[in-house]
């Protein structure tokens, strides 16, 4: 399949917010619903994220369908300003596995200004987590306010990090207008099926609008 025809999901967010965990929870659901995903991770120095995804998804996703791209720069350079290396990695992955119909791009951990190039992602998912503090939505930034979907992860540990989840969710809605917010605990799977529903619904919408 050509890269332009493959549905591309961009997942960004701060370091440690749970981007990798979301992918590891989301991919089995996508496979279960009949899709054939590929994963491209971005790390600054290493392939740590790619290796983690391969280990966790062993038995669900062929390890060769997970590719790591070392950015050697601020992650937003690789997914927003000049995404050519990610696009090249995606094209090579599709050459090897032409059946892939969904590509998940994980940005390296970044700051609140991260966005995805429209050339790289059809849908942009931004991941925050409760351990960063309940003030995070109020700090805004394009990821928080303008992403297609805002995920607030690690809801299970909110009481232990003195985060009032209700405040965090309320503020997220306040700064996003009608933008969707989903609360998750990716390690147990809470809320992840809602994320799968959202991204697949968006895929249907895009497919119908482009014929």
């Amino acid at each position: 399949m050509e890269l332009e025809q493959v549905y591309k999901i961009g997942i960004g967010g701060p370091v440690g917010s749970g981007k990798t965990a979301l992918i590891e929870a989301l991919v089995p659901l996508l496979v279960g619903r009949g899709h054939r995903p590929g994963v491209i991770t971005n790390d600054i120095y290493t392939q740590e994220d790619a290796q983690h995804v391969r280990r966790t998804l062993a038995g669900t996703l062929d390890a060769d369908r997970v590719v790591g791209v070392e950015t050697g720069a601020c992650p937003h350079t690789a997914v927003r300003d000049d995404p050519t290396m990610n696009l090249a990695a995606a094209a090579e992955l599709l050459d090897r596995f032409p059946d892939i119909d969904v590509l998940l791009f994980e940005s390296g951990g970044d700051n609140l200004t991260l966005t995805f190039s429209p050339a790289l992602a059809d849908v942009f998912v931004f991941v925050l987590d409760t351990a960063e503090g309940e003030k995070m939505p109020r700090k805004r930034g394009p990821g928080t306010t303008d992403s297609d979907l805002l995920v607030i992860n690690k809801i299970d540990i909110a009481p232990y990090v003195r985060t009032d989840l209700a405040v965090m969710e309320r503020d997220a809605h306040a700064v996003r207008g009608n933008g969707r917010v989903i609360l998750t605990d990716c390690l147990t799977g809470t809320g992840v099926s809602d994320v799968a529903d959202f991204v697949l619904d968006r895929r249907e919408t895009l497919c119908s609008s482009t014929g």
Partner: protein, 243 residues
């Protein structure tokens, strides 16, 4: 103000050589650390008001380039010629006039901040005698030191022809706008390069307008919508860019 006859000014007698071209590359390179990455040149204000989609970027940036033709780029040309003829009163006059026609505080602050950043770098980066002299005037409060005027002075000191200096700085402005559009999610890397191509005729027109300026009174600005949007941007609770 008294006008003096031309005399040695630290400006090379010959200009336009390969050395000048290479120095201009350095000065107009987007990696040159003068802080331009903090400016969206008004684009963010339109995005925040949700009146700028991806299809509007070309027209908005064209407007920015066109406006520069009678303001910043024209001041650059005046400053360049004034430095080349060692007429520092004229440099100051152009700088003050440019500052006066920038209505919003954001625009004035950004222009002076990036101008002073360039002044600080011009000596180590270029050994620029005009920049040193202009820096003393700015430090003494005689003139604000707008970015365009500093660029004009530095280019003159490097022996870059005024036409090339004006065109180079207008291109740098266009490239900065294209980068801002990408960061604001209103463009991608392909469209940004297509935008720069499409803007060339506008840059040429703006350069011709700027080069036609002969007097500080030729500097003018009439951008009511951009000024209103900038005023809203100034009060925004959150933003990526200074302008």
């Amino acid at each position: 103000m008294t006008r003096r006859a031309p005399k040695p000014s630290g400006v090379p007698k010959t200009s336009g050589g390969l050395g000048a071209l290479l120095a201009q590359f350095q000065l107009t390179d987007s990696a040159f650390p003068s802080g331009l990455y903090t400016l969206s040149h008004g684009l963010e204000g339109y995005v925040q008001l949700r009146i700028a989609g991806a299809d509007d970027v070309h027209d908005l940036v064209s407007g920015v380039i066109r406006a520069a033709g009678t303001a910043d780029a024209a001041a650059l040309a005046l400053a360049h010629r004034a430095v080349a003829s060692d007429d520092w009163d004229a440099v100051v006059e152009a700088d003050r006039r440019l500052h006066a026609i920038k209505l919003g505080p954001e625009q004035r602050t950004a222009s002076v901040r990036t101008g002073r950043q360039l002044l600080g770098l011009a000596e180590p980066a270029f050994g620029s005698a005009p920049a040193v002299r202009l820096g003393r005037l700015v430090a003494g409060g005689a003139t604000p030191g707008n970015h365009a005027v500093v660029v004009g002075a530095v280019h003159a000191g490097l022996g870059v022809p005024v036409r090339d200096a004006v065109a180079g700085d207008l291109y740098a402005l266009a490239a900065s706008c294209a980068t801002a559009a990408v960061r604001l999610g209103r463009s991608d890397f392909r469209r940004a390069q297509g935008l720069l191509r499409a803007l060339r005729p506008e840059i040429v027109r703006a350069a011709e307008t700027a080069l036609a300026a002969r007097d500080p009174r030729d500097l003018r600005s009439s951008t009511p919508l951009a000024d209103v949007v900038a005023a809203a941007h100034e009060r925004a609770e959150a933003r990526l860019f200074i302008t």
